[in-house]
Symmetry: C2
Subunit: 441 residues, 2 copies
Amino acid sequence: MTEQNAAAEAAAEQQSTPEKGAGRSGLSRRGMLGLAGAAVGAGVVGFGAGAAVGHAVASSATGATYPFYGANQAGIVTPVQDRLHFAAFDVAQSLDRAGLIELLQDWTVAAARMTQGRPAGKYGPASGPVDAPPDDTGEALDLPPGGLTLTFGFGPTLFTAADGTDRFGLAGKRPAALVDLPRFPGDALLDTLTGGDLCVQACSEDPQVAVHAIRNLSRIAFGRAAIRWSQLGFGRTSSTSRSQTTARNLFGFKDGTANIKAEDPKVVDAQVWADAADGAAWMHGGSYLVARKIRMVIETWDRQQLGEQERIIGRDKGEGAPLSGGTEFSDPNFLALSPTGGTKIDPDAHVRLAHPTMNDGAQLLRRGYNFVDGNDELGRLNAGLFFIAFQRDPRKQFIPIQNRLARNDAMNEYVKHVGSAVFAVPPGAREGSYVGAGLFA
Amino acid sequence: MTEQNAAAEAAAEQQSTPEKGAGRSGLSRRGMLGLAGAAVGAGVVGFGAGAAVGHAVASSATGATYPFYGANQAGIVTPVQDRLHFAAFDVAQSLDRAGLIELLQDWTVAAARMTQGRPAGKYGPASGPVDAPPDDTGEALDLPPGGLTLTFGFGPTLFTAADGTDRFGLAGKRPAALVDLPRFPGDALLDTLTGGDLCVQACSEDPQVAVHAIRNLSRIAFGRAAIRWSQLGFGRTSSTSRSQTTARNLFGFKDGTANIKAEDPKVVDAQVWADAADGAAWMHGGSYLVARKIRMVIETWDRQQLGEQERIIGRDKGEGAPLSGGTEFSDPNFLALSPTGGTKIDPDAHVRLAHPTMNDGAQLLRRGYNFVDGNDELGRLNAGLFFIAFQRDPRKQFIPIQNRLARNDAMNEYVKHVGSAVFAVPPGAREGSYVGAGLFA
């Protein structure tokens, strides 16, 4: 059995695992990749210019894989996949520094495997000993890799616990940029949707692939860390590449038109990646993730006039062009005057208050998702935007922008921030090392 | 403005709406369909035999459309789409018979439009008067039709209210097959996840398209009916066509191998479609939908040995073959003896107890979905199977099968039924008429 498993593992390393249970076609999950990739290629050809139909292309891009190891973690400037499973974890009281390192090592190994379309553990869901639990839960066995990325982060409480103790000897390593977020005007945060010692962002074109990843990381963490809160999302509301179209949020408007794009490396360097010179050398090549669960009062919004909806956003609903004119990607002209008085874009329009020119040039790389979590007791959909933003320094980016929005945004009548968290996202791991190794060096 | 809108509507009727706001490519949602369809075709060619990779093909089939009008409602024998938004509605106390008919008429018109990739109303999200709320909420504006089907059903309480009153004069029309489901052993039903006067099953390859449909039907019902409970699902756990592969549930096993397939019309006629001779003439060509929200205790399952998992299901985990041998589609041999004693397939294995030969030949057309609704306070994923089954008569199909499973199934240790509902799903509407018209004739 051991030899057999060793052989299977060796085969897996060559990424052509002929595993039992890989489907009646005899194709392994990995073997399918080639075919899926071929289909994606065919799909793009079929569509002509991919940009016009980014959403559809994205949802057929189930064969894509992204490298796990590298200078930066994947899942930040990676073209936003269409589905999300995000989980914040709290570590167990009993966990010590060595245990935390071991957990990160175990997570790294499993993440490196799963992002390449392989099972979470070396035996997989169905090829191990019958008298042991499988080291993969199996629901992704026949599925293509789905463009899976797994992105890990460290919350403020990992450095200093809520009771002030320095559980892991990390207090001195806490980056100055990893501040506790202030209370913003109108915040209605629930403790059960807020904070967390660790986070994992799983993005994929296939929700089952994202769910499988979070589930297996949670399984691996058993007894060492447990999910504090989690969120499923669909319909990415931002694009991080010019190859993608702008998607729509549940207000029905295009969202993220002016998002940071991977094709602008200077902007990415200035606004997204932390630098050793920022103060925490171990965060060089990392970033800071802010998550906000924003419930939308969609039933009230849906009864609002079209003209008022457009006034609140500052863009037209169909094309997404600023109300000052042009097309979706035209720069808004905040000085353009309306014939009926005032400016064409209202002083409290969302597009104005969120715009870099109103925020000392600060920008965010957004990777948010729409969510619907069933309905409330009044029959209203519990729906909204799970906002995720990456940035170099929340003190200069998210916090001042959100302070401005929270005070003045005309949209505030229709949104409620119910969850919040901030994480230091370390640089990517080197092969043979683990995510966050620099923190423990 | 009126003329302009009338012209826009006329253009929409010809399905080439040049609507404002249809994306910077200038393609309308409808116009994109042709392109998406082409890509799907290319995808299938790229994959070779579609059956080996049904999941991937399905998730790129975002351009498909299914007719709304017809002898049967779509969304029953239609090849199962990969995403679900299901909603049960309760009608308002104030609604009378004429109001109920009007609601069904309004829903029919909107459903016929949305399933063809058009906005819910004639103006759409961005082309109507600026001083009125849009008649479509907009988040599906740039998306392909996504193979959307909308399937409507009537719960027992529509015929006889919980307090025994005959609100709509329908008590005499209640089909004998539309029984209240009995309490099954082990049931842990929550009232907030159970029952409903009406239901809508929205299935699509794109969750945003399914969510958009339920949201707009809920918006249209405002003041007349409100969502009682709702459920999002992903990763269809059954196939209803031989063109689809078998998908996996969150136990990691293939689910629905022996499901009824559309390619077997005799079985479909015998097991799925109600007949006038069954007692309710207005249900001829309809069916009965049973929904069960089944929470899986996946953390406990994941710590169970592989051999025990396979014993409980009665199939091997990789291939999905019955433990009596063969391949996935081999018939289980319940008499085959194990060299270690007893039968190869245990007496309480799920596959044995659910098999037609153990249930007087009764079968179900299953269209269930996996779900993850965040996590509970212990950090366990709130996950499981949202079971949906269509059948000709629940008294002869779901109820006896579930009674047998609830008493004896080895799987019961790992599942908990927390929600339940049954609906009479009327036949399809004729063009110009509305869903369920026969009930009011």
